[in-house]
Amino acid sequence: MVELCRVDDRMLHGQVAVTWVNQVAPDAILIANDEAATNEMSKLAFKMAKPAGVKLAIKTVKDAAVLLNDPRTKKTRIFLIVRTVQDALELAKTTGSQIQIINIGGVKKKEGSRQVAANVHMNEEDIAALRELNSLVDKVEIQMVPSESKTDVKKII
């Protein structure tokens, strides 16, 4: 089962490796990102940053969907990390109803984006994807670290 899907443009970094992994207590972390999965140096960095005692797979979004649709995932607590709302949406659509809780952490500023919460910037396409995602899953929450307050996604969409 996917215990939590995190949207974070830095993917597996200090906040995630320390606080969220502590909170979610996953058996495995799955990073679904096309660039990371095809860049050996960035894979090495994530492997080195991996918390002890947790398995880690770094896959393209497509291959991540294949992994998530494997029946063995039912018995595994998976912490899924993606870089964009769009990738989260694609995986939510292609993996049955496995992804139910989305946590949005950092999303960087870009052309046409506005700040919707601390460290979260979205443009119109992001908001449209967020709206669709919100209708597919149980919960979408914006929260950098577990000890901070959550922003209700309904205020944004």
């Binding site: 200090g14 906040q15 320390v18 606080t19 502590n22 058996d27 495995a28 799955l30 050996e40 140096m41 894979k43 090495l44 492997k47 080195m48 398995k55 880690l56 797979a57 770094i58 896959k59 992994l67 063995r72 995932t73 595994t76 998976i78 950098m144 670290v145 577990p146 000890s147 901070e148």
Partner: protein
């Protein structure tokens, strides 16, 4: 009950706390006392001693910037209190581990675990080693 105190030359204590906050969010019970803000190591020791003496039921884990530095030396005297645990040579990972601990273990065990795992995460990676590791092939991407 436990409290974490950082003490250092310059502003390293405040800096480590700032980094810890960025990673963990609010850490209200962690204090930072650096020599940029306090006149002398004695002044820092006095600040800490007041708390340590006032709360004997609370364990104080005090992290100093460097073993054998003037702050560390001065704070060594506080070990006459049974509720003081003094660490020399702080790293950020020690603070994270102590702060996020949820295990029901004693303070000494907690501190020793944090120091040991911090030692294991001090790493060096050169270009040559990175390339070697990639060529050797990394652990398979597995979930099960």
């Amino acid at each position: 009950m436990r409290k974490i105190i950082l003490a250092s030359h310059g502003s390293m204590a405040e800096g480590v706390l700032s980094a810890a906050r960025m990673i963990m969010g609010d850490c209200e019970e962690i204090q930072a006392l650096g020599l940029d803000h306090y006149e002398s190591p004695t002044e820092i020791a006095r600040q800490i001693e007041q708390q340590v003496a006032a709360e004997p039921a609370c364990d104080f884990i005090i992290f100093c910037d460097i073993h054998g530095g003037s702050v560390h030396n001065q704070l060594t005297e506080l070990c006459r209190y049974p509720n003081v645990y003094l660490v020399g040579g702080v790293t950020l990972s020690m603070i994270l581990e102590c702060h996020l601990n949820v295990q029901d273990i004693g303070t000494m065990e907690l501190v020793e675990n944090a120091v040991q795992s911090a030692k294991n995460t001090i790493t060096v990676l050169s270009h040559k080693q990175a390339v070697e590791q990639i060529e050797k092939g990394m652990e398979d991407d597995i979930l099960w």
